[in-house]
Symmetry: D2
Subunit: 160 residues, 4 copies
């Protein structure tokens, strides 16, 4: 069994047509799993729906606590890309004996040309086969939490 | 380095508007890799663009030969789902010391609600971390080639 | 009030993933009207869901009868492009005092890059402002029923 | 011949993935016309690419001047929905003897579930058949410029 914790980020941004701006609604993860015809036994749990630049220490603590407490030993966390590495660090400190893979998207899934579906398939796959530890899965690759950074100029993740 | 061998299947089917039927054109894999913002170092090579029900022994032999000969030790093969297991068997017999992951799609990528992008992200990820062997990646899961079958009633892959 | 009669055609084709071929299910017209945020007061009625090459004289007679009988004086008929002109002729003979606009699509709406939504917006608009008569609305243009033909080589409609 | 003047608005908004916000790039109108397989003889001219809330009197004067000067007698103007009625008023005062139809979208075309393509088909159709005057085409309907308002609560256009 696997658990997917949703925290928001560009991955789940949507467009609020009444106010003409980006916003958050319900997560698109269940819809994406149906689209991908996923048969991975899993539970989706929404913890937050925020831009990761807005994440506080309390928010991160909650993510860490839920990852440590939940029954599952394989976890995917959807997260904004801006502070994904920071949350990965907190998870590495607070969770042991589990495989935790963070992923996100550069383009909202609600848009037609999003990397979200590709990244979700990627993260779910890494989570099923990697040994316990905390990882980031972006751009089709996976990185140990302490060997990756976001290149904010190019908008990609790379080894460091 | 990883190599993606394209053989066609529903994954790459497109719609021929002049004749009003499904057909094959160029592979969509490069476009899907751009959409997924993949940074996996890889080469895409089209071997065939056919429905896997049309695959002959000679076709399979060519796929096996290219997988064995190419430099890369991590390979993804896009393939029609109907005879994916058959090709997996041929690969298990003819290729050793490499990680080969076959994947496909139930809905053409050219359609809006396709599992193709999800499966491509999934297969590329499994190919990077699984030990040498031949696998099928479908529905977010991976199966050893000799422990999977296609459930043609439900249109999904399951363990056997 | 306007009425939309659905008869099928490429407009409404969908992909049957279990059998790997094109097929018909329920019409996509209500979904397309929601997507277009249409506020045109109208009723959608499905008469047929077939390829227009399969249309019989009895099928055409039914379309003509429903157009003549219904309360509405503004009608859109979604139809396969192959015999759209033939049905337009039957309508010109059997319906008077009403504005009837036929439209269809070269790419199924179920595909991501379809002309269906554009054509539906176009046909609904022509139907609201053209004087009584039978017209074909394709490629953003409208043609009187007896001054148009389908160019099957290019897959477009043109004046004759 | 018809001319399409592009001024921006939600219609053409796109997502800037590096900065994580909505922005404007090149217009999507040519791409949308290709998707719709439009064969309407026309020219696309970009005048502005802004949110209509940012439009100044000088901006409006430029739109009016171009509409009055251009050769075409049938014109479509893509525009943000927030101040579309205001620009329509300016056009009614400054342009005569031409059919000018303004349209926009509630959801950016760049998103998968946009009304943009439907509205473009609609506006192009109204522009080809309506008598000279200034109109707004939204939600599948057309309104004379002085008999419409935007219902900002529902995000639709209605008669007044």
């Amino acid at each position: 069994m696997l658990r997917v914790f949703v925290t928001g980020g560009t991955f789940d941004k949507t467009y609020d047509e009444i106010h003409g701006r980006l916003s958050f609604g319900d997560t698109h993860v269940p819809e994406m799993l149906r689209l991908g015809r996923s048969r991975v036994p899993l539970t989706v749990e929404t913890l937050l729906m925020i831009d990761s630049l807005e994440m506080t220490g309390a928010d991160r603590a909650r993510i860490v606590a839920r990852c440590a407490e939940c029954e599952e030993r394989q976890i995917v966390v959807t997260h904004g890309t801006d502070t994904m590495v920071e949350t990965a660090r907190a998870l590495a400190e607070g969770v042991s004996g589990k495989t935790v893979v963070l992923t996100g998207a550069m383009i909202p899934y609600a848009f037609g040309s999003s990397d979200g579906l590709f990244n979700l398939g990627s993260a779910l796959s890494f989570a099923q086969v990697l040994p316990p530890g905390v990882y980031i899965a972006m751009n089709g690759q996976c990185f140990a939490w302490d060997r990756v950074r976001k290149n904010t100029t190019l908008g990609v993740f790379e080894s460091r």
